[in-house]
């Protein structure tokens, strides 16, 4: 372990944290992941809305696409044929990814909303104008950070020297990042923000499906309002999740040289896993103690 490696590891962790947060907020502004099922249902049960609606695909494949696109463009620009500096290559690559994101988002929004015309759901051009650029901006940050992490892992003049080519490693991190964003931050949007009119401390009752909040603090609620709310908790914790994964996974192989101390690296990983299992148990016990059983419960099993 040397100081340069530790510094790079810290930079990767920080970049991953930003990438995680921006990825989650991008999916919240666009309403991309699983919570979008409620947005699509809303118009059908009589709640027309001004929420952006872009379920392009699952988050992992779409983020893998953006990251790989940015990385391929950056690789080409960095190659001997063009010889562009790495920083600007990644910036241009991320721009290409953001443009692709914008095209997919717009077609997705227009396609989905026009298909719901029979439920009086409109295509709002002002929503399209204001939200698409916000989504693209978040996608740009995400792609930039993911490709920067991948570049740090693969650049020939840096110490980590991962064997995968830049686009493959960016693709892989893109899939992992999408999986994390879909699993963590989106729950804050789907379970809390979309159904804020129901009391805090309950999941969505199946009977209330599609009854999403359509009115804002002033006027009608837009998806940018949703990102504002999710930026307070869902986004940052998603960033923390991705940052922790990138940091912990690479930390073990930074403090222990995989060539000579591979077993120590694996043992450290196992120790981290055991500690996380214990921590989850503590979380579960504390939450059940704090919240107590539901008053509506009428069964025989004692809490």
């Amino acid at each position: 372990m040397d100081m340069v490696s530790m510094g790079l590891l810290a930079a990767m962790g920080a970049l991953a944290t930003i990438a995680g947060a921006s990825e989650d907020l991008e999916s919240d502004v666009g309403s991309q992941s699983n919570p979008n099922s409620q947005v699509q249902l809303a118009a059908q049960v009589g709640h027309t809305h001004r929420i952006y609606n872009k379920a392009i695909s699952g988050e992992p494949p779409s983020n893998a696409l953006y990251a790989a696109l940015a990385a391929v463009t950056a690789s080409v620009l960095m190659s001997d044929a063009y010889g562009m500096n790495a920083f600007f290559s990644i910036a241009v690559g991320s721009l290409v990814a953001a443009v692709f994101n914008g095209i997919l988002s717009m077609t997705s929004y227009m396609g989905r909303n026009t298909s719901q015309a029979r439920f009086n759901q409109y295509v709002y051009l002002d929503v399209l104008r204001s939200h698409t650029t916000t989504i693209m901006a978040h996608a740009y940050i995400t792609a930039f950070c993911v490709v920067a992490i991948s570049y740090i892992m693969t650049a020939p003049w840096l110490p980590i020297q991962h064997p995968f080519p830049l686009p493959v490693i960016a693709f892989t991190w893109g899939i992992a990042l999408g999986a994390i964003g879909s699993s963590t931050g989106d729950v804050h949007y789907g379970a809390e923000r979309e159904f804020q009119q129901y009391p805090f401390g309950a999941g969505l009752n199946a009977a209330n499906s599609g009854d999403i909040v359509t009115k804002g603090e002033a006027g009608l609620r837009s998806s940018i309002d949703n990102a504002w709310f999710c930026a307070k908790f869902g986004g940052p914790v998603t960033g923390l999740a991705f940052g922790l994964i990138v940091f912990l996974d690479n930390w073990r192989t930074t403090i222990f040289d995989p060539a000579t101390q591979g077993w120590y690296a694996i043992a450290t990983g196992v120790l981290i896993v055991v500690l996380l299992n214990v921590y989850n148990r503590i979380l579960e016990v504390r939450s059940k103690k704090r919240y107590g059983p539901y008053p509506e419960y009428a069964g025989d099993i004692k809490a």
Partner: protein, 230 residues
């Protein structure tokens, strides 16, 4: 053109074992799909394939780094397994943060009355109109096992392919492909949602083993031929 010898057979067997590990591992991953994203079902609020692939590929990155410095199969496979477990565990922990602090629901399993590991009663903590929420202890442990098997399986496939062609990018991409095929087959088997090894759907594993075996065998033969001839 490559020749079909004993070592080729061993690589195909390794790919098939890797594929089976992935297929079985996916059954352990607690995912609730779209309902879980609205705290309406137990498990992580995403798709089976998405989470399993995310963790398996994080393991692949660890395994790839390890394989660049050693030939020890055990080190490579375990490195992949540990990387996948870390990804899975951190994701489930942060998912639980969101359920507990963001939505205000405790983690609870709905398919059993008592948690098989901790013996805690579950039904009193299930929100009205939902079928559980969050990742309780039994699902968490199950998810960790799923990460272990998925990461190990992906790494084993990568190891076999790397031994054939020695090109890491190509091997990684083929490994990702074989991984996703098995994850999707397993996902069909559990129809999108499962709480973990205590879920009745878990008993469907034999069907997934058969399907994954056939699929991976066919892909494995082609993968070895394509890579050997490349």
């Amino acid at each position: 053109m490559s020749t079909f010898d004993a070592s080729t057979l061993i690589y195909i067997i390794q790919i098939v074992i890797g594929g089976l590990l992935v297929g079985i591992g996916v059954h352990f991953v607690p995912v609730g799909g779209a309902p879980a994203a609205m705290a309406q079902a137990t498990g992580v609020g995403t798709g089976t394939v998405q989470l399993a692939t995310g963790s398996g590929l994080t393991g692949l990155i660890s395994a790839g780094l390890m394989m660049s410095v050693t030939d020890n199969i055990l080190l490579i496979v375990l490195s992949g397994a540990v990387g996948a477990m870390i990804m899975m565990d951190v994701t489930m922990i942060v998912g639980n943060w969101v359920y507990i602090y963001g939505v205000g629901v405790p983690p609870v399993a709905a398919k059993v009355d008592y948690d098989p590991i901790t013996k805690d009663p579950q039904p009193p903590y299930i929100g009205p109109g939902t079928v559980g929420h969050g990742v309780p202890t039994v699902s968490y442990v199950s998810g960790t096992i799923g990460g272990l098997m998925g990461g190990a399986g992906g790494s084993l496939i990568y190891y076999a392919l790397m031994n054939i062609n020695g090109v890491s990018g190509l091997s990684a991409f083929f490994a990702i492909g074989i991984f996703v095929v098995n994850a999707v087959i397993a996902s069909y088997n559990i129809q999108g949602t499962i709480e973990g090894f205590h879920d009745p759907k878990f008993k469907r594993i034999p069907r997934a083993v058969q399907a994954c075996f056939i699929a991976t065998l066919i892909i494995g033969i082609f993968a070895v031929l394509i890579h050997g001839g490349a």
